[in-house]
Point group: C2
Chain length 597, copies 2
């Protein structure tokens, strides 16, 4: 029986609550957005006591359904001032689900003057709020290593790093990797790490000792569906385990990870380069997924068993797609960073004009250790370059700038953790690539207009995952769209957004969409797992639409209007090479996405 | 015949336009807000080519009406993202009016990559757009000295300093003093200096050689009215020239300037101290208007004719109230800064816990030289203190921080010119005292609730001048309100806001209100000057309401809702000593101010 743990950080108490009947089908994003939209005053300060920090494993987390172990966190965002959900892999989703915790709600906050920091230990029917001042101020690598030493069961950990503890708006919520102490599993976006920091909680440790695999209401049907779904995922060229005639695996994600997109977007001319000045990067190949794959192979050849690099690495237990990686130092074979994903390589590489893979990996390692979102931080560093404070392409200068963040008295160090909007404004930049205060990710909306509509309209600020039209516009999932400019962008974006809201609630990784959009049997198997788990039929679009309505409603009550659903002006006025196009979707077409919501 | 000069900074051309019949009665704020609200896309980027920078002398500027020479500047604000008007004294209002220029509209902008900077020379029937790269990068003292050397007619000058040239959001529009080269006449608020910087215009020089005093439509009536009005102003204890039994002058403004308020607000417990933590400052007397008066007298006694300090100093030609001052260095008698006003002493003194007058004056001198608004910059420095980067009360540290702004590569230097909101967000501060992004001025809204309603609702962001309820709540103008908490705040604030919009358009200094609210004959004389000048009856409230409606309409089209008409959360949750009150006006009461607008 699932339950909810409510922790009050003002008086350091907690209580267990029963899941209400109307919450039975709500998990992951649907649960966090339900709590935030019904319990949090949309006008509250996001970093003071009235905001709430909500954690919820996806519906199928902890089960044997494939790639379903993701965990959502939600709150009012200090970056966008609207509602926010972010999700990640790691161990926490599975751990919490197996001890029956559907949701964890952190409310209140210690007094502003408090110097005390806390860790929350959640186990089967137990919760401890432990003062752990010695955990504050550590880099996340050290923090995770210390927690794993103290709790040898290898618990799930989520938490905030230095940036979150300083209430900075680029702060993400880190999650630990399955097998190493890199804080590689980021629910990175929207500054939710700062919300956790405002509660004075450094880490939430979840231990599933004594727990059990969650049982489906209709177990046989669930079992059959999950097996069919695994087959479907394994057979798809993007998500699968396919091998070529010579027996060499060619599944895109397993071999090259998400960063397979680097060359694809570059080819398409939609790869934002040097702060969105160009759509094609001359250095893309050197930092592509293929280059990471070769680095891993080369390092293995050199260092054998000692080589810590890998591809085809699962971000959470039970993931069959295994799109992640661990990047080694070539000279020693030791781990530099895990993972190095497409968005990160773009944000900290392409977007800064940096094509030295080791420098990009180092920037990622620093972000992970400091506790900041790589997309936000990459765009922030780009603002330093746009303002002429450091040069585009200068990796060592970017690394030095980011290292400043270890010094709490450094103003530069504060800026690099505070997001592109704040930093751009501080430096007088007029080309700040944000929507609702949140930085744009790795797809330029000028040649790829559908993703621009998603950036503009989704409730989370500029975000690709919330309505990943790239699948249709670039990757040709469900049949290649020959000219993506012909698509009705509003319909495309809305359809992706509602489906995504469903997926973000199910526990399934968004990447299952590559497969299920192409394979009707896979789609049915996936929805069967959800329906049989709950013992009732769920309509994907209705479910997703309800989540979006709750989120949009929160934002409206926070003062958002359609005028917030706009891209920055320069996307309409500056042409992007090589296609030399501007973003030309009309405001009316943008507003059509959520007309009547 | 009044006309309008329209300058295009994209192609460096200009044209003269006739004033349209429906614009005949529009001047000052009414003119700038009319142009901005009808010609500027509310969704445009405020620091790119689609914004417009509008200058307009008040209706009676250049005439012999007393204290009527103020000049308004307006644009979409980069600080608030809404409409903005700011006005000041100086020479420009008079100069432009006497050559028949009702408005100057700067539109377009040089390409973003341009390194060229321009000066605009406006004379009788002439305009020159002169490339003057050597003027860029200078402190404003040097800049004004150079311009006055090149143009010996002592023209009016308005312009942007270093901060505006770097597009920073605390940048004000400076105006030159009448008799020295201090850029003491700031249309400081809303970051309008950055708008001028975005047009690559360092200075607008206006020369009235060959001009004439503007003629009233009904000249005899005008002449009689202005004389009556002078008598009324001279007879009022705040604005006047009164002397006591021993022949010693005691007019509040002439002797102690605006900073007479320091002790008054301190006494009332509404003087925001150390970043709005307290309502009473133990060091207030040391930096009060009385202290400045004594410093001037002491320095005169010591240095005789060489002493450059003064009180009772007029901010523009023809001001009979003469509330301004020039503050000397006591050791040399030379000018340190002119003027040192109440808001500035509060922002850079009280608000930072600094009670050393010389340090406060030095901070003011630096602000004037850099081209930043003192209110915004004081609140910005307070954010450094709130974040623990420097200590409350540490004048030398505050001075050193502000001096960083001379170094364009200093991140701290950038922050101190970028406003409290940006800096507070960069530093993780949760008590940022802004409304619509603009910093609060020198009256705490908790004990003085009417001014809180003005801060929340007026179209300009937190601003005292736009609806100065202090006159009724604290100063007892029109009869002392014994408990200001009894007043209907919405009605009070709306009445002040509409009257102010009228005054800001007339060219009259807002301070005439101290007199005209108390003296019906004075009020009638004032409106008579306006009516006889135009040759038609103007209803004060209707006129002001029309201005406010244009401004609120612009803001609505820019995406503002009633949710933007709110004070920061901490004013409702933190009690202010000594009265230990929170801001408790309901949202409904706040929204009542502009219900139906």
């Amino acid at each position: 029986m699932s339950k909810v743990l409510r922790v009050n950080m003002t008086d350091l108490t907690f209580k267990w609550e029963k899941l209400k009947p109307e919450q039975e089908h709500l998990a992951g994003r649907a649960f966090t957005s339900h709590i935030v939209s019904t319990e949090v005053d949309p006008m509250c300060h996001p970093l003071r006591e009235r905001n709430k920090f909500v954690v919820s494993p996806g519906l199928l987390a902890g089960t044997y359904a494939p790639s379903s172990g993701r965990v959502s966190v939600g709150a009012k965002s200090p970056l966008t001032s609207g509602i926010k959900e972010a999700n990640a892999g790691g161990l926490t989703g599975t751990r919490l689900a197996r001890i029956g915790v559907r949701g964890l709600i952190l409310e209140g906050a210690p007094p502003a003057a408090s110097k005390d920091w806390y860790t929350l230990l959640v186990g089967k029917d137990k919760c401890e709020i432990v003062k752990k001042n010695e955990y504050a101020g550590l880099g996340t690598y050290d923090l995770i290593a210390r927690i794993w030493k103290e709790y040898p069961s290898k618990p799930g950990i989520i938490g905030c790093g230095l940036a979150g503890q300083r209430l900075q708006k680029a702060a993400g919520v880190f999650g630990n990797n399955v097998e190493n102490t890199d804080a590689g599993r980021y629910a990175g976006r929207g500054g939710l790490g700062a919300v956790l920091g405002s509660k004075h909680v450094v880490a939430i440790v979840s231990d599933d000792t004594g727990g059990a695999v969650p049982a489906a209401k209709e177990n046989d049907r669930f079992d059959a569906a999950r097996k069919t779904f695994v087959k479907s995922l394994d057979a798809h060229p993007i998500t699968g385990k396919l091998k070529d005639d010579k027996g060499k695996p060619f599944g895109a994600l397993k071999n090259y990870g998400t960063n397979v997109l680097q060359n694809i977007l570059n080819e398409a001319g939609g790869l934002p380069t040097r702060a969105f000045h160009e759509g094609r990067f001359e250095g893309a190949a050197k930092i592509s997924g293929e280059a990471v794959h070769e680095l891993v192979d080369r390092t293995r050849a050199k260092h054998g068993d000692k080589a810590q690099g890998t591809y085809g690495h699962a971000c959470h237990p039970g993931c069959v797609m295994a799109c992640s990686n661990a990047v080694p130092y070539e000279d020693t074979g030791k781990l530099q960073v895990s993972p190095l994903e497409y968005e990160t390589v773009w944000a900290l590489g392409t977007n800064l004009g940096i094509s030295v893979l080791k420098d990009v990996a180092e920037l990622n390692r620093l972000c992970n250790d400091l506790g900041v979102d790589t997309i936000e931080t990459g765009n922030t560093l780009a603002m330093l370059m746009e303002a002429g404070m450091i040069k585009f392409g200068d990796g060592p200068a970017a690394i030095a700038a980011l290292k400043e963040a270890y010094n709490p008295k450094s103003y530069l160090g504060r800026l690099v953790c505070s997001g592109a909007s704040t930093t751009g404004h501080a430096l007088g930049v007029t080309r700040i690539p944000v929507v609702k205060g949140q930085s744009l990710p790795a797809y330029d909306p000028r040649p790829i207009r559908g993703i621009g509509v998603t950036y503009a309209t989704n409730p989370m600020g500029a975000d690709h995952t919330s309505g990943y039209t790239i699948a249709a516009e670039i990757l040709g999932i469900k049949g290649k769209v020959t000219d993506p400019r012909d698509l009705k962008k509003a319909d495309l974006s809305r359809a992706f957004q509602s489906t995504t809201a469903y997926l973000d609630s199910s526990g399934y990784c968004l990447f299952v969409a590559f497969c299920v959009l192409d394979d009707d049997a896979g789609f049915k198997a996936m929805t069967d797992t959800v329906d049989s788990f709950l013992g009732k039929k769920i309509d994907v679009t209705e479910y997703g639409t309800a989540v979006l309505k709750a989120e949009r409603g929160f934002n409206q009550r926070a003062g958002f209007t359609e005028r917030d659903d706009r891209l920055p002006e320069f996307f309409r006025t500056e042409k992007l090479p090589p296609h030399n196009v501007t973003f030309d979707v009309t405001d009316a077409d943008i507003d059509a996405v959520f007309k009547g919501f």
